[in-house]
Symmetry: C2
Subunit: 155 residues, 2 copies
Amino acid sequence: MVMGDVIRSETKRRGLEPDAKNTGEVMKLLRKEHGDAAVADLCLKEIEKTGAMKVVVDGIRSMAEVDEFRKKAEVLLVAVHASPARRFGLLKERGRKDDPLTYDMFVQRDRRELGVGIAEAIALADETISNQHATPDRLAAEMASVVGHWKNVPN
Amino acid sequence: MVMGDVIRSETKRRGLEPDAKNTGEVMKLLRKEHGDAAVADLCLKEIEKTGAMKVVVDGIRSMAEVDEFRKKAEVLLVAVHASPARRFGLLKERGRKDDPLTYDMFVQRDRRELGVGIAEAIALADETISNQHATPDRLAAEMASVVGHWKNVPN
């Protein structure tokens, strides 16, 4: 479940082009209209439809969202971390439609996400994995190790 | 340079017992009196006295402090991360005089430090190292690797 997909769908549903500016505004609007866990609530509805018992959720932006998921399931919160410079480089490589085009736009997006509480979700994560120098294979191996720890050593 | 030592000295200088509550209050007072980078300024004065060219600084609590150090030197910001439960366990093991005694006091300390901006400093770090399952030897090796990357591959 990619939380950003839910925001992109909602942006289109409102008749807007899902670019960086509009998805950012819809993210803020959803919170204003339905509270800090609005995006998590939309995701939970989607997840419930699938009936899945194990779900990977990508795109947590605040502890309010984590708390919402924790009402419904056992959650391992994993922060995949890289420096701002590295994250900007990775976004340029990916080149998705709603990715920020310039470093200034990227810094603005970071500010918006810090504003909704992403830093607290990183600081209070159960696990962190560094994506500063990792290859995709290495990341996958570290994620598997972290999930293994969790399943064998519950809190 | 342990930034907490500067706060503990300052707490004693003000005639107070350097316990968890008083050091927390002096941390906030210093910022109120001398701005968000107050503790960094006190550290910089101490560092300048030593004439050292390479310094490890422990205890960053906000990007305001990082920015202050960056005015004077090239800085690699490394976040050593562990979950709240693991950090509380490590503090109990260490048992320093000003460490929080109960989980409630620990959560209060976390809130105080989140309040001055520690989460942003973690989120925007140049590097993170997980201390969730690491031994001290492993941590030292990862820190050496991170510093090696920095010296060979400057941003």
